[in-house]
């Protein structure tokens, strides 16, 4: 009895616990198709002796035939690396090699039919029969594109049946470096350029490992004296995405040469080594202009021009006793001129009797003060004060013969100019060689007051219509002639340059200027 109980107990234990111990708990991941393929390759049974399937088996096979998997592996890859498209096909026949397999236009039979929208380089292609009706294939290639491509299509034709599959989300992503040659310009204190190469981040970033080299040419544009060429070899670098090389500096000296034009043209070529087999050294040539940043400034009252130049201006209108009038800038020029005398014939009872002659004398400019300079009327305005004190300015004599010699000084009254004589000069500024000069001047001389107490009516009338416009016109002509000489223009430019320097401007070249209201606005480098 006991033995029976023991036996039964053992039997129960065996019956109950055996299945429990025989259970296998596996938390491993689901094998990938490749692992499955390897495992199946390992367990590939010896080809069975082909026994013709029964009609029922054939029908069932054909019903279950199809592409079981189709994917790219590995992904992502770096540009220049290989990737494989893999598929597994359950054939409706035991002899799947009769099939025509097309991978996006490339027949696996080895005939290259067409090139699709992307390019690649085939490394290998193979297919193998895993089981009598299972065909596995691998198409290994090196993509020549960057980014993601998922639209691989597999078409297998058998008889009148067509089997199709797409990789869809299991395509390949090709990451690639994104090299960019960057330029930084620096203007102050000295103009220079900095070159460096950055591996820019983008959607499909990848590091760059290899040699980098830069050739450059920097020239003035559209023309100018700057012409600098050079190259720099960064050597072999390792640039993770987002990183950059060290910066190379190219000084552009002297700055008068660099700033000779408003823009510079930089032609540069970046050389790098492509990891794609056969591509070798690659280059990218770029050309672009870089405008210098111009500083804007304004000038309201260039009063220093008075001390530096214009304060020395002299106007002397005096055509008496054979002397000549003149305008002068000491050291720069002098323009002597004559104001023809006013002459009127005296006629009495229809008989010529003699001549009244009149001329100008002793008109001089007064001290030109700082307030003489202002901006207005489209330029730099200089109001030259004229003193009309001292002796009478308009001399009158009677000359019976009209040839000089004896004259009657008491025969007619002299005239004293009392009112203002306005001499206004406007210098119209322009750029000359990067400095503020002027293109021309306008001179306006006006004798304002012609109501001379004690003067005869006909004399005033004659003066207003004759001598006065002569004084104004001749002085204007001479002053304009003097101020438009190259000597004075050069001196003006130098004075303006010195003025701006003394005002604290660090100017290499002025690029543009305009007169706006009571200011000169200018831009400079």
């Amino acid at each position: 009895m006991n033995q029976r109980k023991i036996f039964l107990g053992i039997l129960v234990i065996v019956v109950v616990f055996y299945p429990l111990f025989s259970l296998r708990v596996d938390f491993a991941q689901v094998p990938t198709p490749d692992e499955i393929r390897k495992k199946m390759m390992e367990k590939r049974p010896a080809p069975r002796e082909s026994t013709p399937p029964t009609p029922e088996e054939r029908f069932e096979r054909e019903r279950r035939a199809g592409i079981e998997s189709f994917y790219a592996e590995p992904s992502p890859i770096e540009y220049g690396s290989e990737v494989s498209l893999k598929w597994r096909f359950k054939s409706p026949t035991d002899n799947p090699r009769e099939l025509t397999t097309t991978l996006q236009g490339i027949q696996m039979s080895g005939i290259n039919i067409s090139i699709g929208p992307e390019r690649w380089r085939v490394v290998s292609r193979s297919s193998s029969l895993i089981e009598p009706n299972i065909l596995e294939g691998t198409y290994t290639f090196i993509p020549q594109w960057r980014g993601r491509y998922s639209d691989f299509r597999l078409t297998i034709r058998y008889g009148d049946r067509t089997f199709q599959a797409e990789t869809r989300g299991r395509g390949v992503q090709v990451n690639c470096y994104n090299l960019e040659l960057k330029i930084e310009t620096t203007q102050s204190p000295e103009p220079k350029l900095k070159f460096y190469v950055e591996n820019k981040r983008w959607e499909y970033s990848a590091p760059y490992r290899g040699r980098l080299k830069v050739n450059y040419r920097i020239v003035s544009t559209p023309s100018g004296p700057l012409n600098k060429t050079g190259q720099h070899d960064f050597g072999s670098v390792d640039l993770p995405p987002g990183s950059q090389t060290s910066k190379i500096e190219v000084p552009l000296l002297p700055k008068e040469v660099a700033f000779a034009s408003d823009e510079i043209l930089i032609e540069r070529t970046l050389f790098w080594m492509s990891p794609y087999p056969g591509e070798g050294e690659q280059s990218n040539r770029m050309s672009s202009t870089y405008p210098w940043t111009q500083t804007r400034a304004s000038l309201a009252r260039p009063i220093a021009l008075v001390n530096l130049l214009l304060g020395a201006l002299k106007i002397h209108i005096h055509n008496d006793g054979g002397q000549a009038s003149y305008v002068e800038l000491p050291g720069m020029g002098r323009r002597a001129f004559d104001i023809p005398e006013m002459r009127a014939e005296l006629e009495v009872w229809g008989v010529h009797w003699g001549w009244y002659r009149s001329w100008v004398r002793d008109i001089n400019n007064a001290h030109i003060g700082l307030d003489a300079i202002s901006i207005g009327e489209g330029g730099i305005r200089l109001n030259i004060p004229i003193e009309a004190g001292g002796p009478t300015e308009i001399k009158c004599v009677y000359d019976p013969l009209g040839i000089g010699g004896y004259t009657d000084d008491t025969a007619c009254p002299d005239v004293d100019l009392r009112g203002p004589i306005n001499v206004k000069v406007v210098f119209f500024p322009t750029l000359v060689g990067g400095q503020i000069g002027y293109s021309h001047v306008t001179v306006d001389v006006t004798i304002e007051d012609t109501t001379f107490p004690g003067a005869w009516d006909w004399f005033i009338e004659l003066f207003t219509g004759d001598l006065k416009p002569k004084i104004e016109t001749e002085t204007e002509k001479s002053l304009k002639s003097l101020l438009e000489t190259e000597e004075v223009k050069n001196a003006f430019r130098e004075a303006m340059t010195r003025l701006l320097r003394e005002m604290g401007f660090n100017i290499t070249r002025i690029t543009r200027l305009e007169v706006s209201g009571s200011e000169i606005i200018f831009w400079y480098l």
Partner: protein
């Protein structure tokens, strides 16, 4: 006493005579405006004056090319006929006033006065 009275009477009569006979010179100033035209008759330059009198001028001499000092530019012989036709002879001086001249182009035309000094 009688002698004294007679002397005064003689003096008075002489004065009345002198005045009545124009025997004492009476200076006249005749203004000649610019543009006045004289009528030439023989050796005379005749001019009717607005008050009805008239003058005849003869042997006019102009001080040509001489200083304008004193503003006298010539002289002439004059016969002066008053409104009643009574004639006086004398000398005329031509005097200009340049301040009153008028400008015509580059010529100054000047009015002048004739200063008539009758002869005795």
């Amino acid at each position: 006493m009688v002698k004294q009275i007679a002397f005064v009477v003689i003096i008075l009569c002489s004065m009345v005579y002198t005045l009545n006979t124009n025997s004492m010179a009476a200076e006249k100033i005749i203004n000649i405006p610019i543009g006045t035209r004289f009528e030439k008759v023989g050796d005379f330059e005749n001019l009717k004056l607005p008050d009805g009198s008239r003058i005849e001028m003869k042997t006019i001499s102009i001080y040509d090319n001489v200083p304008i000092r004193d503003n006298i530019f010539g002289e002439c012989e004059i016969r002066f006929y008053d409104q009643t036709g009574k004639v006086q002879e004398g000398k005329g001086y031509l005097i200009i006033d340049p301040a009153k001249g008028k400008l015509e182009g580059k010529k100054i035309k000047v009015p002048f006065d004739i200063k008539f000094l009758p002869s005795r």
